[in-house]
Amino acid sequence: MAFKMLVVDDSLPMRSIVIRTIKASGFSDAEFLQAGNGKEALEILANEWVDLVVTDYNMPDMNGMELIQEMKKDDILHAIPVLVVTTEGSQQKAGEFIEKGAAGYVKKPFTPEAIRDHITKILGEVGDEGSAEEGDDDLDF
């Protein structure tokens, strides 16, 4: 069974590089959905089950923190792990993401290895039936 992931970022180029990075991280069979902000993400999540949400923090209309809070209030969506990928680099903000329920936090600029390590850890904790493949330490695009 391939994983389904929702990538949330107001930047089209950033969504593109996040998806490419995840695919190169051993999840080449994963299916990807995309949203430009937290509101759009919730609209998608109302109709689609995903295994992982990868979200930016700083977005118009609804930011990543608000998205996590809305998901945690929901009986179904609270179970979906959220990985935050953001430029926010303060220790306080990083702690706040985890406190609000994020499963992980990656700071931009990121290396492909950082994304791979976090997603493998998160999805490994969710279940082992996914399609993650063994990969080299260094990732090529």
Partner: protein, 158 residues
């Protein structure tokens, strides 16, 4: 404090361009803004992002189209022929977002800086001096294999 901020900007733009765009750069910390602004015939793309916190003000990133196209091809993994203006705009906005966030986490990762949403601005409307509300400034001339780009900050302390 100003020197630490300038060092953080230099470190940040180097990390962002090398990690996300695979570009090797040299940073000239002593160039004047005029070294980049107002060259005849040039109309670089420009983006601004406001911030608030221990410091308040904005960053400006200015990139000639030729360099931005190379960055976009690398960043998005698309062929040159498939790069659109939307892609170019998105790339410069994401670049300044990462540079600003990384600058502040390098400068002081115990402080919280609230970043705005990156906006596109007309290069021709950029004043050479910072506004009086945020009079302090730094300018970095960033030299790449494809030409120069500029990073400027206008700020005030709280």
């Amino acid at each position: 404090m100003k020197e630490a901020l300038k060092k953080a900007m230099t470190t940040s733009i180097s990390e962002v361009l090398e990690t996300m765009f695979f570009m090797t750069i040299d940073v000239n910390e002593n160039a004047a803004t005029e070294a980049f602004l107002g060259k005849p015939g040039e109309h670089p793309f420009a983006s601004r992002i406001y911030f608030q916190g221990k410091l308040s003000g904005y960053f400006l990133l200015m990139i000639p189209e030729e360099i931005l196209r190379v960055m976009t091809e690398t960043f998005m993994g698309v062929d040159a022929a498939d790069v659109t203006v939307t892609h170019l705009n998105g790339t410069i906005q994401e670049a300044i977002n990462m540079i600003a966030g990384n600058t502040f986490s390098t400068f002081d990762n115990t402080a919280v800086f609230d970043l705005g949403i990156p906006e596109l601005i007309d290069f021709n409307l950029i004043p050479s001096r910072c506004p009086k509300e945020t009079p302090e400034d730094h300018f970095l001339l960033v030299e790449t294999f494809a030409g120069n780009l500029g990073l400027k900050i206008c700020f005030t302390t709280e």
